[in-house]
């Protein structure tokens, strides 16, 4: 695995941790999504209680060159409330499934947040001045008796303490029968897609009363249902191209120019099954939990239960790279099925975009390309695609000292456990890292444990 020092290897250090300290986790505090905005200045989290918390990076202090700005709470708001579907007699969870930022166009910031059924566009704006000196109103807001007004003045703006306001600007509702698992903003920045288990809809950001259905895999007879949509994403550059992944381990690439309903894929990405690894759990562990395009759009990454795969969009029959996240779990699949852990949906992410400019295939790029994903026991893994080295790190309050390099972890699959290794049977399967995010420009990562958000950055010299 990645050793400390040497070449371009990143040395990760603890920076901050957010969230409650006690082990007793309130259900509402469980983090369900993490996302940096396009500049990396803002970091948003969504939780099971329907709240969004946005952290803002402090402006870098020129004198403190050895660390980057800290992230502090910028805004907190209740994005979604629990609802009750009277027709089905079921609750609709307020849990935030995904947050996606829009690129910044003016002073305000915009993001999309979604629960199982409804997507909302939020505007987050700052207010640092307020008008004072009204003629008809006192400073406290009470109205003055007009007869007491003897002179007129022009109200002026005076500075005030910074207030960050979040207001819902659009509510995109009633378009999904099944649970929304993904939202993705198109590269045209005007439209976006939302995907549930069986359908994908295309929306215009300005229009809330209708959406276009672009994928529908619901069978005429629900008894024939054997496959669902698990994730979907627009291509980063081509505004008519998107992909969606399925519970059978396939990825379909669709072109919206081909037809209104993209029932027929343009490309189907699927790796043939390895017969020597076949078991009753083969299908379940092949189910893709996340799909992410590389920043160039030439590759895409998928996460299934045990591995991360990198696909070249030009090659459909197998991935170009496969990285094992926790292969030692393969012999434990029955237990993981029993306790439902086998259904955990891990996400994955690429490192920041500036480092992935791809030249022609003749020119070797020594710009770094690293992918990251979570595991159990609060471990998370990174795979360097160039050096082919990988590292396992832990998000734990025990590594609390800033600028101390994190110690790599190792799981002992079988046989004699070396010192500092942890055996598979000692892993805590309640401590899972499902959500991770990488700053778009710098080596700063946000890693969510159950109810805490860890921020790590590389060691600066």
């Amino acid at each position: 695995f990645l050793g400390a020092g040497g070449g371009n290897d990143i040395q990760w250090c603890f920076s901050q941790v957010k969230g409650a300290v006690d082990d007793d986790v309130a259900e509402a505090d469980i983090i369900s999504t993490v996302e940096f905005n396009h500049s990396g200045e803002l970091l948003a989290t969504g939780d099971k209680g329907g709240r969004v918390v946005i952290f803002q990076q402090e402006q870098e202090n020129k004198t403190q060159s050895h660390s980057r700005g800290e992230y502090n709470v910028y805004s907190t708001f209740q994005s979604h409330e629990p609802e009750f579907d009277y027709l089905k007699s079921l609750e609709i969870e307020e849990k935030i499934n995904k947050i996606r930022w829009l690129p910044q166009k003016n002073a305000a910031q915009f993001l999309l947040s979604t629960n199982d059924k409804t997507i909302k566009l939020w505007k987050i704006s700052e207010r640092d001045k307020r008008p004072e000196g009204y003629n008809l109103k006192e400073e406290d807001g009470r109205y003055r008796d007009p007869t007491t007004v003897t002179t007129l003045r022009v109200p002026v703006f005076r500075p005030m303490d910074l207030m960050v306001e979040a207001s819902p600007r659009r509510i995109f509702a009633n378009a999904h029968t099944y649970h929304i698992n993904s939202i993705s903003i198109n590269s045209d920045y005007e439209t976006y897609l939302s995907a549930d288990d069986l359908r994908i809809n295309l929306w215009h950001l300005e229009i809330t009363d209708r959406s276009f259905n672009i994928v529908d895999i619901k069978p005429a007879n629900m008894e024939e249902l054997t496959e669902v949509i698990t994730a979907a994403e627009f291509h980063p550059n081509s505004c008519s191209t998107f992909v969606y992944s399925s519970s059978k381990g396939t990825i379909r690439l669709c072109d919206m120019r081909a037809s209104a309903l993209c029932d027929r894929h343009s490309k189907l990405f699927e790796e043939p099954e390895d017969p020597s690894n076949r078991s009753f759990f083969s299908e379940i562990i092949s189910s893709i939990s996340d799909v992410k395009f590389s920043h160039s759009g030439r590759y895409m990454m998928t996460r299934d239960y045990l591995s991360v795969k990198i696909w070249d969009l030009n090659m459909e029959n197998r991935p170009v790279e496969t990285y094992q996240v926790h292969e030692y779990l393969r012999s434990k699949l029955c237990s993981l099925y029993e306790n439902d852990c086998i259904f955990d949906k891990f996400e994955c992410c690429w490192n920041g975009s500036d480092r992935q400019v791809e030249f022609s295939s003749l020119c070797t790029s020594d710009l770094s390309s690293i992918v990251m994903t979570g595991s159990y026991n609060n471990f998370f893994r990174m795979f360097d695609r160039n050096t082919k080295r990988d590292i396992t790190l832990e998000a734990s309050r025990e590594n609390n000292k800033p600028r101390t390099v994190l110690k790599p972890r190792k799981v002992c699959a079988s046989g004699k456990r070396k010192k500092d290794e942890i055996s598979v049977d000692s892993l805590d399967f309640n401590k899972k890292i499902l959500h991770t995010a990488w700053h778009p420009k710098e080596n700063i990562i946000a890693v969510a444990t159950t109810n805490n958000l860890y921020i790590f950055q590389d060691k600066m010299n």
Binding site: D85, L87, K88, S89, L90, E91, I92, E93, D116, T177, Y178, H179, D197, L198, N221, M222, E223, L225, T226, E227, V228, T230, S247, S276, N277, R278, S279, F280, F281, E283, I284, S287, S331, K332, L333, C334, S335, L336, Y337, E338, N339, D340, C341, F343, D425, L427, D428, F429, N430
Partner: protein, 249 residues
Amino acid sequence: MFVRGLKRKCFDGEEDIEGTLAGIKAIPSYNLQRQSLLDMSLVKLQLCHMLVEPNLCRSVLIANTVRQIQEEMTQDGTWQMINTQSTGQASLDRLVSTDILCRSSRDQAEGKHVPAYGTYNKDFESDQAQDSSETMSTASSVQAPRNLQSNVWEMENPQENKGNFQKSLDQIFETLENKSPNSVEDLFSEVDNSYYDLDTMLTGMMSSTKMGHCDSLETFSSPTNTASNSNCKSDLNDLDHIVEILVES
């Protein structure tokens, strides 16, 4: 743990089995483990969060697993094997092989569903003489919660699937009527065949009362608990009682 690889590997004596003796021993063990996986899967399909719509992806994956097992068991003809096994010891082996990795805090998080599931497991382990009773327990356990949990797939068009009572996956429960020779099956002959239809259950056609499903499951559980290790006759009385509850609900 599971013997990895396809069932026919065992029969073919291929490389996975070290030595003939181990191969022979592996065969019933594989069947038992497969049966326990089937039981576990059926329970999982029922024990969904009732207040919130269940996770469709999870349900689909579990149902596909059930289908896989059922197909393989049908191909092997192992349904007959299970019915002719007469020892209760087999049932004890069935669920012991799975090791549980999660701590108990996980169980607490599951809320009241897990005690029901836990009770259910124990019922199997302490279950009585006949395996046929067990498979019928499987069937009736499918019935009990299914009456109350109707939303595994969807609720939007309950009417559209009403015609499909005789669909596939009947085979799981079919043997109960056709192959088991004892009088317990008479109890079930009065029950609508559609109860055995896994697809029916999955499409949520049955009644829509949802609250108190756990009560029903526990009601089901307790008779079998008290009947542990007793003879078949008292089992019949218990099952009688259970069917009464189910038919009335």
